[in-house]
């Protein structure tokens, strides 16, 4: 977690300069830190790799992968079973979701199973790099 926060702090200055825009490259830079956070939260390396493989095979750019992985990491922090990491992603990809719609669909699946997101994101967590209001 501290490492992710450090990365978020690193990216905070450029984001502040860019206003509300979220360049895909800046977002993509978070991918290694996010999966590190997942591993530190107890998700197995195999599950992380499986999810990354799925996203990569489907041709998702790294910035969109960040959206997906973030939802999954948040779900784990919210108490979702760690062995469920990435379980909903394939289905949502099959349904044709991409980008923020994909992330929202995954979040909705977690919510439908009683895994909320609002209470899990620590105050200093992610907000420097996550766009507000769910719009691009």
């Amino acid at each position: 977690m501290p490492r992710f926060l450090a990365l978020a702090a690193l990216l905070a200055a450029p984001l502040a300069q860019l206003g509300d825009s979220m360049p895909a490259i800046l977002q993509a830079l978070q991918l290694p830190a996010l999966v590190t956070e997942a591993r530190q939260a107890g998700v197995t390396d195999a599950m992380v790799r499986d999810l990354l493989d799925v996203l990569r095979r489907r041709g998702l750019p790294a910035d969109e992968a960040v959206l997906v992985v973030r939802e999954e990491v948040d779900a784990v922090h919210a108490g979702a079973p760690k062995d469920n990491f990435g379980a909903f992603v394939q289905r949502q990809l099959d349904a044709g979701h991409r980008g923020r719609a994909l992330a929202e669909a995954i979040r909705a699946e977690h919510r439908a199973r009683g895994i909320g997101h609002e209470q899990v994101r620590p105050p200093q967590h992610r907000d420097t790099t996550r766009p507000k209001g769910g719009q691009p």
Binding site: P14, P32, P61, A62
Partner: protein, 90 residues
């Protein structure tokens, strides 16, 4: 006289082959991996310093957008590399 020279040549060739093999292993598992992390960290720091020049920074590191995505995926998929990147970016 020829036989000892031949044996010496064979021994030298085997030594060279072994050295090359070790060198390649290091490159695959060590040097090139570290280069990937160093490259990604350099890109991250460059974009931090010049946030509006992201594309130019990628180009300066010989990265296309697809290549950059691949770099991020590659580092993320390797727990040690992902950790190294995350720590280096602090």
């Amino acid at each position: 006289m020829i036989a000892p020279i031949g044996r010496l040549a064979l021994f030298t060739a085997l030594l060279l082959a072994a050295a090359c093999g070790r060198s390649e292993g290091r490159a695959a598992g060590g040097t090139s991996d570290m280069t990937a992390v160093d490259r990604a960290v350099a890109v991250a720091q460059g974009i931090r310093a010049h946030p509006t020049a992201a594309d130019s920074i990628l180009a300066a590191h010989d990265l296309t957008r697809d290549g950059f995505d691949a770099l991020m995926y590659d580092i993320a998929a390797d727990s040690a590399l992902a950790r190294a990147y995350t720590e280096a970016i602090r």
